[in-house]
């Protein structure tokens, strides 16, 4: 079991226990500042479900990037 006691540097009210092995690899992911709970969520999905979620995230990222480009294109530009 891998126990998370804080998120974004803030202690959690209650530790979150993930049913994955408490190994050096999972500790490294946490030490690198990555969201361990998000990685656990992704690991539980099937490849097809991951691809579907990725498509949604990619669409959002592209839309945000385009919106940001419009915003920074010049003063008075409506994003």
């Amino acid at each position: 079991m891998f126990t998370i006691t804080s998120s974004h540097g803030i202690p959690l009210d209650e530790p979150l226990v993930l049913p994955v092995p408490d190994t050096a690899a999972w500790r490294e992911v946490e030490a690198l500042g990555m969201d361990v709970a998000l990685l656990y969520h992704s690991w539980r999905l099937t490849p097809e479900e991951r691809i579907r979620e990725h498509s949604g995230a990619l669409n959002l990222a592209v839309a945000l990037r385009e919106s940001g480009q419009k915003y920074h294109a010049g003063p008075g530009t409506v994003a």
Partner: protein, 164 residues
């Protein structure tokens, strides 16, 4: 808007022989990083190159690494195929690699791939251990982060009774 899933579907339906590598493969294994393109390893010569060309024909493929972004056309008769092809298509970017630097040629990549069922059928992806090595070989900071996630996924996969 890119649609990488449909881009791969075009390749599968045209029976192109390939293995998905890179960030898209990492995502399929469970990495949380979003990737904006698809990298594949494939024989980039002969009939497979022709199938790749046919698969992409309606997607306006062009060489995105060339300043003029020339259309993707087959090599002239008598010429060899490509070592690598970096394409821009209507459905997103597709990077086609003849081999994986520091890892091996297409035959090695194929031997270290797994078939995954996805929405449009079965598709081959580089296996997790080899993908970790590939990410470590490339060695950019973002590759180290993805490799760290994949090592954790590998641990979880191999833990008894842990897989959902």
């Amino acid at each position: 808007m890119p649609d990488l899933e449909r881009l791969l579907e075009h390749l599968v339906r045209a029976e192109v022989e390939f293995v998905v590598v890179g960030g898209y493969a990492a995502m399929a294994h469970g990495s949380t990083y979003v990737t904006f393109d698809v990298d594949i390893c494939a024989p980039l010569f002969g009939p497979n190159l022709e199938r790749l060309h046919t698969a992409l024909a309606k997607l306006h493929p062009c060489h995105r690494m060339m300043p003029q972004e020339l259309p993707f056309t087959l090599p002239a008769v008598g010429e060899q195929g490509f070592k690598n092809v970096y394409l821009k298509t209507d459905l997103g970017q597709l990077d086609c690699l003849g081999d994986l630097p520091g890892i091996g040629d297409y035959a090695f990549v194929l031997a270290h791939s797994i078939a995954l069922k996805v929405s449009f059928g079965e598709c081959r992806f580089l296996d997790c251990p080899t993908l970790i090595r590939a990410k470590e070989v490339v060695g950019r900071p973002k590759d180290f982060l993805v490799a760290a996630q994949l090592r954790a996924i590998l641990d979880a996969d191999s833990a008894p009774d842990s897989h959902p």
